[in-house]
Symmetry: C2
Subunit: 344 residues, 2 copies
DNA sequence: CTGAAAGCGCTTACAG
DNA sequence: CTGAAAGCGCTTACAG
């Protein structure tokens, strides 16, 4: 390639100083209109590339926001990420994405990278077991953090998520209202706040109806479609098989429905199945899936919005923002659903 | 926060020069073992954060590799990205991800950002209509590019993808062998190399069997699960409804199967359906989906590997690396599949 | 084995 | 309205 064009190249060619060129390229009114145009024209034709590292070294603003979640491929995060992306794009911030797969050292190394790159902010759904000190490390080094979906006790930073306990209680109440007394819970774990809160909502709704919680009715662990599929066997082996299941997430529910169908048990006919999150697929699934709309898009927008506000100087606020979820009833939980009937 | 610790802080405290500290932190054998340990200890206890912008400005290596695809939420890209992530992690490169959603200006602005940040390399699945000049711009500014999944004519850079024409011909031949003469193609577009190649494989296999291509049998456009679902209505409205369908992707096939089931047409019983990509879900779907394993993981590994090799000084090679796909036959294409029989 | 000095490409007071 | 100069925090020849 040819000799690299930099600010000083343009300045020399035009007989100006780098200060003037720098100001002009950023549209400063300090530079006369004509001069500004000449400079921009030269920058354009010479193929000048702005060196953000140099600028960032000087200004200690990088224009980078890091985003770290369990798994970007999970549609639950997908919708949050779209909202964040949208918000950051509008503010011309670059979006650096990372999966931590609940591996603390992977998350920590991402955090270190962000510190080293001088990122302006961080949005994260913290990995299981994230110590508050990791969050403090970022905050103490001028890297403001906003949490999504999960909370870290004692971190002292704002956190944005759906009201999982309330949302889960909505589904379970719905099933009870449909006449079910035996309702299983499939998936989730005690190790995340999401898992704990959703399980709590499940227990609360049972208790409210005077139904005793039975530990064997919670089949733990599943968080992916595949794990939901695998959980079907375990569910079907339960001694008094419940007539309804609520799942930790839509993904788990969709996998479970595949597993049940394969075993000859028809979701929406022989058994009521509900999910959680209301991902796009829920409405077109077969049968269409009853679930809880979890406000992912709002979570993303508000978290990004709050972070951007802090970047523009707003004070940090420790707050827990709970988005109110809504029940979406579809055929998977209504056992009279007239599913089309294949005969063998 | 306290005063920021930098190289010179450590140097002062220890009565050494910044040169020695810099070398020690990067494990240079030029620095005596004891000195090195003292320096590292001090860095650790003082909470020193390495400033990569400064280093990068000096060395013009950033440790960043940009990755830009149509949509990271699509499991097809998901598997490629996992492989790339894996490869880059091993080489301690930071992974900056971006969706372009086939929007050229979004892709271009990502490219500009990577140039400005001094990224070391770029892996992209180019947006529809990407001009070769965009790729040249990167290459001419010391930003090596590797293409995945799609090709850009005249770009002169290496490209890694499955052999889509061959793979699609495998599925169609399979359906013909199963006795089908009327096979529809659902989804894809003429605008991507992937779409063109898969459509070509479809035509080739028909021609080979002496079956004339009928334009109305290609229902174009669908590339997502939802679009596949929507395409079901269009397919069912065809005058002489074909007895089999191949889809542009598994996602389209899975959506189509939802749509067909809802209309009372049973995939794997009343109609044969095939996908393409062999994503995780294909094997557990109901019915399990016949598809083509497309080597996504190999595509990712090889593309990242080739890029990393260039970063370590290997010469650029314009080459097209075609991964050989494999047919995976499952029940969705075998009409005698004993699907469990819900009655209303 | 260690140090003094220059320089990566910007921006920012400060002068004029 | 424009310029000269310092400095962001590193690394890299070059000396010793």
């Amino acid at each position: 390639m040819a000799q690299k064009v930099k600010l000083s190249t343009i300045a020399e060619r035009l007989g100006l100083s780098t200060a003037t060129v720098s100001l002009a390229l950023r549209d400063s009114p300090l530079v006369a209109e004509v001069t500004r145009e000449r400079i921009k024209e030269e920058a354009r034709t010479s193929g000048y590339i702005y060196n953000r590292r140099a600028a960032s070294l000087r200004t200690s603003k990088s224009g980078i926001v890091g985003v770290c979640v369990h798994d970007i491929m999970n549609p639950f995060y997908g919708e949050i990420l779209k909202a964040i992306e949208d918000e950051l794009d509008r503010h011309r911030q670059t979006f650096v994405l990372c999966n931590h797969y609940d591996d603390l050292s992977k998350q920590r190394s991402f955090l270190d990278t962000m510190l080293q790159l001088g990122a302006d902010g961080l949005i994260m759904s913290p990995a299981i077991g994230t110590p508050a000190s990791d969050i403090r490390l970022a905050e103490d080094n001028d890297l403001p953090v906003a949490l999504i979906a999960r909370t870290v006790e004692g971190s002292g930073v704002a956190s944005f998520r759906g009201d999982d306990a309330y949302g889960m209680s909505l589904v379970v109440r719905h099933l009870i209202a449909e006449g079910h007394r035996a309702v299983a819970l499939v998936g989730g774990t005690d190790q995340t706040s999401t898992g704990r809160d959703r399980a709590q909502g499940y227990r609360d709704a049972l208790a409210e109806a005077g139904i005793a919680f039975r530990p064997e009715w919670w089949i733990r662990g599943a968080r992916s479609r595949h794990q939901g599929f695998d959980a079907a066997a375990e569910f079907l082996a339960l001694p008094d098989r419940p007539s309804a299941v609520v799942c930790f997430s839509d993904l788990v529910a969709l996998g479970l429905m595949y597993g049940l169908s394969r075993a000859g048990v028809r979701p929406g006919v022989d058994i009521a199945v509900c999910g959680y999150d209301d991902i796009d697929e829920a409405a077109i699934a077969m049968p269409p899936l009853t679930t809880v709309a979890n406000g992912q898009s709002e979570v993303g927008h508000r978290a990004a919005g709050a972070l951007l506000a802090r970047l523009s100087g707003a004070p940090a606020a420790e707050e827990l923002v709970l988005i109110r979820p809504e029940l979406r009833v579809r055929q998977s939980s209504l056992l009279d659903f007239g599913i089309v009937n294949p005969s063998p």
